[in-house]
């Protein structure tokens, strides 16, 4: 076989770097949507590589629901310091205080949907014309149709039926005042690719991804972590389990799985043997069969 070919991880990396450089070249003020989860960490790492030896030219935007894992916030702040990048925080609590959104009620109340307003407000306030996300097409069926460069109208909305055709690697980021784009450099990566890449590149990730003991409650088929925001009903009971998280979202909606995987190698091995999708532990996706699509249309990540 010819030596002139890339392996799949190198090809995915090269594609993502190409996308990030296109974003930089085509937009005035792009920002990385940084959640503290592994996908946005990988995107940030790729941005570091894409512009080396320049500093990472994007600010990092975090939509803070107030329902965070403390570990996530610490990780975020350390990374910002290391990169010397600018951090933009959009606060859901502020949106609530200003009356822009109303808190959900009931036992399964979350701030997940409220983030949309905060995110769009922050994009508008900071004049972000391209928000770079760690979304992957393998995550969810509505995401399977995302473009690398995805147009949002002046209400921040996605119209999946009227997307710009994207051919070869010719991305069209042209937009009118008030509109913006979402860019997804790791569109073509799967969960397994992300883990293999984290392993290969030795990328730092929050401790939450590794197996650890934690107070949890069994709800909707996964272990929901105990926190000051958790409301228990009579049938539920807090127990201590050795768990880890496959995805990170709000502490109120992110379920853990029982696991002994406490190194990247063990996690990669565990993920390759998984028989459940990673978002299976996210109660925000379980609300209806089209809950991701409905949120994305409104402007969700």
């Amino acid at each position: 076989m010819s030596k002139y070919y890339l392996n799949y991880l190198d090809e995915l990396e090269s594609e993502a770097i190409y996308v990030l450089r296109e974003v930089w070249a085509q937009f005035q003020n792009p920002a990385i949507l940084f959640s503290g989860g592994k996908d946005s960490i990988v995107v940030t790492h790729l941005a570091k590589k894409a512009f080396h030896p320049c500093k990472i030219p994007f600010s990092l935007m975090h939509v803070d629901t107030g329902h965070n894992f403390p570990e996530t916030i610490k990780f975020r702040d350390d990374l910002i310091q290391e990169l010397g990048a600018k951090l933009i925080v959009g606060s859901v609590q502020e949106s609530i205080d200003q009356g822009r959104v109303a808190e959900e009620r009931g036992k399964n109340a979350t701030r997940n949907a409220l983030q949309i307003t905060t995110l769009l407000d922050a994009i508008e306030e900071h004049k972000i014309d391209c928000a770079i996300g760690g979304g992957r097409r393998d995550e969810e069926k509505a995401r399977a149709k995302e473009r690398f460069f995805s147009h949002r109208d002046d209400f921040g909305q996605w119209d999946p039926k009227n997307q710009r055709p994207e051919l070869w690697n010719l991305f069209n980021g042209k937009h009118f005042e008030g509109e913006h784009f979402r860019a997804f450099p790791i569109s073509n990566w799967t969960e397994m690719d992300v883990w293999n890449y984290i392993k290969r590149e030795n990328i730092k990730i929050p401790s939450l991804y590794f197996a650890h003991e934690r107070e949890v409650v069994w709800r909707q088929n996964s272990w929901i972590p105990n926190s000051e925001f958790l409301k228990l009903d009579e049938t539920e009971e807090i127990v201590v389990k050795k768990i880890r998280f496959r995805t990170l979202g709000d502490i109120t909606i992110t379920g853990g799985i029982e696991s002994d995987a406490d190194t990247i190698e063990k996690i990669a091995l565990e993920v390759s043997a998984m028989r459940q999708t990673e978002r299976g532990n996210r109660s925000d996706d379980k609300r209806s069969e089209t809950s991701m699509e409905d949120r994305k249309r409104q402007g969700y990540f």
């Binding site: 076989m1 002139y4 890339l6 799949y8 051919l167 690719d193």
Partner: protein
């Protein structure tokens, strides 16, 4: 999965009736790429709709509208991995009105799967899909003759389709065509070899996909490097004089010391270094993203192209392209558009529609000059400044363009340089 495994992108063309969704579902299901919760969801939906067993087609259903209408309306991407390769499927619909989606999916594909119903043989749609595969220069075409279970797994039926197919495809430029008799519904020759067709000596579909030789498909002769952006650190450390031209190699091989010419200015220099994050590399080839530094300080920016001095593309303001119209609004007669070619952008005018192709009969029509959604035509385009183009059949990256309408910012057409 081994570290040296390659990525293969393929597209699937066919309509609901051909069993395309069932085929993809079968590939995912039999290669154990379906998760339990996905399977459970599909089992529930199958039951609700009154299907017997699992409706494999449901695995590839995406958006709400499609689920309601029972059709696929856009390009959806699927992923699966075997111990030999990682695969990306661009799943595109086969209906006539969705040529644009097929063209989109085909633009980055290494291989195309074309489905033919064994009972009906080659139909207009088969020709249309094959034509698009050849137009987009997909290097490998795999014709899957499906529903063999409904023709008693008959070798004659299989051979009849091959004969029909070869009759019309002889006029097309496809480098590698293979035929596989399958039943997506029953699982014959998709992942596992069929016990019902001993007369077939070839490999099942998945094995074929795993072993297609794709590394020789890339152009390694014509060294082309479109500059995306310039890297100039604003620091005061050892990098303060660094000036790197960032981009992705479109084709060919670059090495430090190579004599290069910057197009369109024509300035010449030598490559000083080829850098990636980890350090310098000895050579760069497609599709590597690198940063190139030169011996001389030359004014270079986005839209310029670095090429080897002994092998330059033809700068041209008058280009002929095969154009696929992608937008609801027809082309404006002698209309002006923005043209994107690699990282370069200019204003362009469609000067002349030479002919349109009737994609059902593949006949040329020189009378009808209106370019409507899904039309494929040969046109002459004039640009305000020269583009550094290669013929598409030699170079899929430097031979492709898109047109953008300034009034709407939409991508309205895609073209392949003749």
């Amino acid at each position: 999965m081994l570290d040296n495994n390659q990525l293969l992108r393929f597209t699937t063309a066919g309509s609901v009736d051909d069993g395309k969704s069932t085929l993809i579902g079968r590939l995912l299901y039999d290669s154990k790429s379906i998760f339990e919760d996905q399977l459970e969801a599909v089992e529930n939906t199958s039951k609700r709709k009154g299907h017997e067993g699992v409706d494999l087609a449901l695995f590839t259903d995406g958006l709400r509208d499609e689920r309601e209408q029972g059709i696929t309306i856009d390009v959806a991407y699927r992923y699966f991995t075997t111990p030999k390769r990682k695969f990306i499927i661009a799943d595109t619909p086969g209906h006539i009105q969705y040529t644009r989606n097929m063209v989109t999916g085909a633009s980055t594909a290494n291989a195309a799967i074309i489905l033919v119903d064994a009972r009906h043989g080659v139909i207009e749609q088969t020709k249309r899909h094959s034509f698009i595969a050849s137009l987009l220069q997909i290097p490998h075409v795999i014709v899957c003759i499906n529903k063999m279970d409904l023709v008693d797994y008959s070798e004659d039926a299989f051979n009849r389709v091959i004969e029909q197919y070869e009759e019309f495809s002889s006029k097309m430029l496809v480098r590698d065509i293979r035929f596989i008799p399958i039943s997506a519904l029953k699982g014959d020759n998709v992942v596992n070899r069929s016990g019902n067709m001993d007369w077939y000596q070839g490999a099942p579909l998945l094995h074929t996909l795993e072993t297609l030789h794709i590394s020789s498909d890339l152009n390694k002769v014509d060294a082309r490097f479109p500059v995306q952006t310039v890297l100039r650190p604003q620091s005061h450390d050892e990098n303060r004089d660094y000036r790197g031209y960032a981009g992705r190699v479109a084709s060919g091989i670059f090495r430090p010391g190579d004599e290069i010419t910057v197009m369109p200015s024509g300035f010449t220099s030598r490559i000083k270094s080829i850098d990636i994050f980890e350090g310098e590399v000895e050579e760069a080839f497609a599709p590597m993203s690198v940063s190139i530094t030169l011996e001389e300080d030359i004014d270079i920016g986005r839209g310029d192209m670095i090429v080897r001095s002994n092998n330059k593309p033809e700068p041209s303001q008058d280009i002929e392209v095969m154009l696929c119209w992608l937008n609801n609004s027809p082309a404006k007669p002698r209309g002006k558009y923005r043209i994107r070619h690699t990282s370069n952008e200019q204003t362009a005018m469609i000067k002349e529609v030479v002919y349109k192709i009737d994609i059902n009969t593949l006949e040329r029509n020189s009378e009808d000059k209106e370019l409507k959604m899904n039309d494929i035509s040969k046109v002459k385009i004039r640009t305000t400044k020269p583009l550094m183009i290669d013929p598409y059949r030699e170079n899929r990256t430097t031979g492709s363009i898109i047109l953008i309408d300034d009034a709407t910012n939409e991508t309205v057409a895609a073209g392949m340089v003749v």
